[in-house]
Amino acid sequence: MRETVELSLVVNGRAHPIRVEPRETLADVLRERLGLTGLKISCDVQVCGACTVLVDGLAISACTYLAADAEGHEVTTVEGLARAGQLSPLQQSFIDAAAFQCGFCTPGMRMAATALLAENPAPTRAQVVAGIEGNICRCTGYVPIIDAILEAAGAVDAAGVSEGAR
């Protein structure tokens, strides 16, 4: 028998008593055990940001974060951001700007953006770029994502798409 530990994981405000192996990552436990498949696994080595979730409000890569280390902390996933039937400003701005194509990066990108805006509600374009530097999007070329985050922050850049990241 493999060694296991008993945890109480607080995810999106709900406590989940759960038995995990010490080597299990937070990403695997959230996806495979709790059915929270919003976060995605791509690189699996903390390079792409697809697995970004919040731990006590800070963006972390769940693919390289051990589930056991989340004990005693508040985990927030993309599912936890949805308010019953109501889109958040970031969700709305992502849709308005078409800030995704395939959508595989989107949950991670949104969590990174949420953490960024929580820390800095009125970021500059350069600060937005820095805030999502750890999140890869292979589809959009980032331009609409940057625009969407700025829009959600209420700092709509009139030049929009033509300004790129710089």
Binding site: E21, R31, L36, T37, G38, L39, K40, I41, S42, C43, D44, V45, V47, C48, A50, T77, V78, E79, L81, A82, L87, L90, Q91, F94, I95, D96, A98, F100, Q101, C102, G103, F104, C105, T106, P107, R110, V128, V129, A130, I132, E133, N135, I136, C137, R138, C139, T140, G141, Y142, V143, P144, I145, I146, G160, V161, S162, E163, G164, A165, R166
Partner: protein, 765 residues
Amino acid sequence: MRRVTTRATPPSPIGESVPRRDGIAKVTGAARFTSDLSVPGMAWAKILRSPYPHARISSIDTAAALALPGVIAAVSAADLADVELYYGHALADHPLIAHGVVRYGGEPVVGIVAEDPATAEEALALVSVEYDPLPVVTTVEAALAPGAPILHEREAEQRPQRGFEEAIERDHPNVCSSSTQRWGDIDAAFAGADLVVEGDFRYPISYAYAMEPYTAIAHWSDGGLTVWSSCQHPFMVRDDLARCFHLPLSAVRVIVPYVGGGYGSKSYTKIEPLTAALALRADRPVKLALSIEESILTTRGDGAVVHIASAFDGDGRLRGRRAEILLNTGAYAENSPLVGRKAANRICGPYRIPAVDVTCRAIYTNTSPASSFRGFGAPQGIFAGESQMDEAAERLGIDPLEIRRRNVVRPGEALWSKARGMDADLDADLLLAADALAWDTPARPGRGRAICISASDAGSEPVTTSLLRVHADGSVTVTVGSTEIGQGSSTVLAQIAAAEMDLPLDRVHLLQSDTTAASYDRSTGASRTTTLVGLAIQAAARDARSQLLEWARDALAGGGTVEPAKGGVLVAGVHHDWGAIVRAWFAGAGGEVVGRGYLRRAGSMTAMPPFWEIGCVGAEVSVDEETGQIRVERLVTVGDVGCAINPQLVESQDVGAAIMGLGIALSEELVYTPEGSLLNGNLVEYRVPRASDIPPFTAILAERGDGVGVYGAKGGGEGALNPVAAAVANAVRRATGIRLHEAPFTPERVWRALRERDPGREGDG
């Protein structure tokens, strides 16, 4: 966004940037990808891969793995005597699991099925395989050398109806395929030239990096096979599965949930036959979810070595072009024969050339198999051809924009005999790009600018169907076989159906990519969906409307007159919507009308290609001469798309494609050692663009209504990638005087070229 429009105004919601239909699912995390799915009773597979790039397998022992509690099956080729092992799009040369020989490092050798992924992983270490290593070739030059090790002893079946019908000229056993493009008197063209430029160019082995790795679930039940897969072409995958497992097409169901990126890398069959074989032996539903490292080993883009010569008159007019392209195709053909076919066509550029002699050969090497990647044979040759346009302009003292304007074909003019006439205004596109770059004003000191243009024979085969069902409440379900891979087809195709049926968008729903429930489409690639599937939906809508008119006459007008009206008919001045007609005809007991749309190679689809896909890109760069780092100061794309059904989505395609091209121009390359080791098969060392790499960007849409598709539309989404490497290289030349012949233009390569620079800046080529 800039839109330049000369077309007629289409009906709503065509031409409107309506929100994406998949938006809420994707921003809330509710969208389910294959990697998110599970099936009751599902077991997990892991793959043992070859550590050798070329070896004979002398023995495989799985007894210890099978003894591990939780392991259900351990499968190698020896266990699959009842399965046709060899598949492949153009050539059936690819065993779904190594069959006696491994031909690249990372080739699947044994598949383990277990109750959970960790157990399957653990069991891999318990399998013992003995190999007899064989000599290795990783470059096209080494593979074509006399005495080179031969990769394929066995003659592979060239598969019919897969778009590659040419006789392969195999002057060396490692030639996988060959294609030629020839016309005119090439010797006379070169003999009478005022200027000949000649050179060698290298395009890297690249990786599409779709963020969702290859993932499939296979489930055998009721005498049939169901497969969920992150793939682009479910019907093509179905056909290959039916062939491998000796099943009728109707017994195989391939379902595609949301797909986490494709860019060509999920075209054709990949891990589905292996997953189905494992499920068959395990007698359980099986999920095979590859890692990104494994995905890199599964498919990548063709690297190319291009020798090219272009002959010009003194006024810059092209007289002839000769080229020899060698594609590094890796261990198996995959779709490289078609990539080679297209590379031979596309290296000719969008130019009027009196004589052409191009050969492209795809070459087997002991590297991972190459296949489709956005651009599909275009960027490899465009880099070379467009570099030579600038080189000739410089040597002849002609402006690089002007030399292109003198050579591009005019609207309606065919690039080669029997080809569809040019359905684009290339001269106007060039001027739009020039305007955005302020071409007429000199660049700032230390900066260089360039504009490059390409035309791809796009659209693939026009074989597409659609059903459009009008329900008793007047709402509509449209079925298509085209896959939503992020390009926005679920939105754009719904817009077309809504416009054709005069319905609000929220009355239209789409069912896509399910080979049993949805209707046939050949593929989702070659930028064909909007054009070809759009036409099939239009045909289905017209068929539904003509039936509804008939039914209205029958059931509402007592055989008398009905007048077509918006969203329904008028009978004696009273409007009846579609639902009312359906209800009346079925006498109030529900029912529906089924409209059928078929698209084949006939009528407007007789001339090939279905349409030309234009790439028109401008770049302005500066170079840090100390480090060799290129800084792209501005990128411009002109999307010549006829009619942008949803401009926001078209623009997003162009930006994404150009940035993907920029990644290959600046940093992306999979590097193999001569011994066959992949040095950077991971995302840490294979660097794709990040947010901070994105330059200021101008995306222009040119809509002239000149496409063959609905409302004058034609395809986009790949074009903007194709000229990027050439545009960056030419702009670097203008900024620094160095001519780059090998992409990506890494700081090291640029720095070396700067060191070798002729201080006079002359004499290049």
